[in-house]
């Protein structure tokens, strides 16, 4: 009788075998950056550009003003994000209403979303920032900062509401049937069954929007809001040195990279959850 030998488990790579791919990637990345650096600095204009954009002294000098401006960016970002999250969800709900009596609300929401998405955000900020303060509306602040932020909220809400809507539509009809069969009203069905699942569905997309917003706050510089970009432009205008822009760029980078990693992590958790569900 033939005997079967159980094949051994596959060989675990040795430490040396494991380290080789890491070394290769480190070396190839290093070579790439050395070549790129050599190519750029070999340009005739490099010494001029270096002085204009990468002057350590100018960076140190402009840093306090730019950082103060950046603190304003962060404040605007948080306030705008809170309003966008709420307002866009309301828009998405308004747009998904099916009752015929709600037609005007649905129609208004569609009109609003189409109109806002059809106009560049920059233009909206210019119109709000310069136009509305000129009206001197009683009871409303007339600062460019206030109305620029409102424009940002309006612009982002239109896009974000479509993200929410996609998330709501991705919740299977059977969930609605189940909630209705338990006697929940239309609103209770939305509140307890549909929206919590919709938000989970689109959380990575919502965070992606937040990363985008964090940088678009800089658009308010065009209406004279003294945020980071505006502050560095003021420095540039005074000294003819552009290094302050690099300072602003580094600050934006430092703020958005952690946010991006956080988004990645949420997206990965979401992926894992979905995989578990299909198992």
């Amino acid at each position: 009788m033939e005997t079967f030998e159980t094949p051994p488990p596959p060989k675990v790579p040795t430490q040396r075998e494991q380290i080789i791919p890491v070394l290769v990637s480190v070396i190839s990345t290093g070579i790439f950056f050395i070549l790129a650096g050599w190519f750029i600095s070999s340009s005739e204009q490099w010494p001029v550009v270096q002085k204009q954009f990468f002057s350590l002294e100018a960076m140190r000098e402009s840093f306090p003003d730019v950082a103060r401006g950046f603190w304003l960016n962060i404040q605007i970002f948080f306030i705008a994000e809170i309003f966008i999250t709420i307002f866009s969800l309301l828009l998405a709900i308004a747009r998904s209403l099916k009752n015929p009596i709600a037609t005007p609300i649905r129609f208004a929401a569609v009109l609003f979303i189409d109109a806002v998405r059809g106009v560049p955000a920059l233009l909206l900020i210019l119109l709000f920032g310069f136009g509305i303060p000129a009206l001197r509306l009683p009871g409303f602040p007339s600062s460019a900062l206030f109305w620029g932020t409102v424009a940002l909220i309006i612009s982002y809400s239109a896009y974000t509401s479509e993200v929410y809507r996609a998330g709501m539509e991705a919740v299977h009809n059977s969930q609605q049937a189940a909630a209705r069969a338990l006697g929940l009203t239309y609103w209770q069905t939305l509140r307890y069954a549909i929206i919590p699942q919709a938000v989970r569905n689109v959380l990575p997309a919502l965070l992606n929007g937040a990363i985008s917003l964090q940088k678009d706050v800089a658009l308010l510089s065009v209406i004279g809001v003294r945020e980071a970009v505006r502050a560095s432009q003021i420095y540039t205008a005074r000294t003819f040195n552009y290094s302050s822009l690099i300072v602003a760029a580094v600050l934006f980078l430092l703020a958005s990279v952690p946010l991006a990693r956080f988004t990645d992590r949420i997206a990965q958790q979401d992926q894992e959850r979905r995989l578990q569900r299909t198992r």
Binding site: A178, A181, G183, L184, T185, Y192, P196, Q197
Partner: protein, 253 residues
């Protein structure tokens, strides 16, 4: 009056429904007595599930009427949530809420629709879970459970509002054969406790075992109905004979 004792729990009269221009239910008459278990059988597309969903008004219908304890379910006094409290439904694909624990799934309707306090609702839910031997899963999320467990939770959820009638829509169709038994035992239990049920099923053996009466639907009509023993062994109607023949050939009876 002796007739009031005989008042059916559910009385379906000349129920007709179209999907667009397609006739899916054609003048269906069906009375379900209190504590009676009626099984609806028939091929896919014969209208069984649609009939079930008309009973708790998940689907609107075009002609005819449905009485629950003699009350028209389309009458003005019959609110949606009252109807759905009295008539529970369990779906083929469980339809549990994936973002809620088992306990929250079960207590949602008692708390939000019927205004029962959370501690009270949770206590009732735990008692129900214990009856169905599911108490250990109270804090789990549905995707941590097997299909059979999920379906049992769905049955408990439908039972949590104390319905008079339970509608079961192919509740074992999505389950592995080894998990079906547990769910069927629960349904048998409910029958023994006197629950009035209308069951759509493809499990002919189960229908034969649990049903007081079996209705065979074909093209939106009840073609034949009767005692399960009679209907499964000596079907009168030609369509019923053909259907059962196919089931036997497929090894499902």
């Amino acid at each position: 009056m002796t007739t009031s004792l005989q008042k059916p729990k559910i009385s379906i009269q000349k129920l007709t429904k179209y999907f667009g221009t397609k006739l899916v239910l054609h003048s269906v008459d069906l009375d379900v007595q209190p504590h009676e278990v009626v099984c609806l059988i028939g091929a896919s597309g014969s209208g069984k599930s649609t009939l079930l969903r008309c009973i708790n008004r998940l689907f609107p219908f075009d002609y005819g009427r449905i009485l629950l304890d003699g009350e028209d379910i389309e009458g003005e006094e019959m609110e949606d949530n009252e109807l759905r409290q009295r008539v529970g439904i369990v779906f083929q694909s469980y339809n549990l809420f994936p973002h809620m624990t088992v306990l929250d799934n079960i207590t949602l309707a008692p708390r939000k629709v019927h205004g029962i306090s959370r501690p009270e609702a949770e206590q009732q839910a735990r008692e129900l879970l214990e009856k169905f031997d599911m108490q250990e899963q109270a804090e789990s999320y549905p995707d941590r459970l097997s299909g059979g467990q999920q379906q049992r939770v769905a049955i408990v959820r439908a039972m949590a509002t104390n319905p008079d009638v339970l509608l079961l829509d192919e509740v074992t169709a999505a389950l592995d054969p080894e998990l079906i038994g547990g769910v069927l035992n629960i349904i048998r239990d409910l029958k023994n406790k006197g629950m009035t049920m209308v069951i759509v099923t493809h499990e002919m053996g189960f229908a034969q075992d649990v049903a007081d009466r079996v209705c065979f639907l074909d093209q939106g009509r009840i073609v034949e109905e009767g005692d399960p023993k009679q209907l499964f062994t000596k079907p009168k109607h030609e369509r019923t004979q053909q259907f059962l023949q196919r089931i036997i050939e497929a090894g499902r009876l």
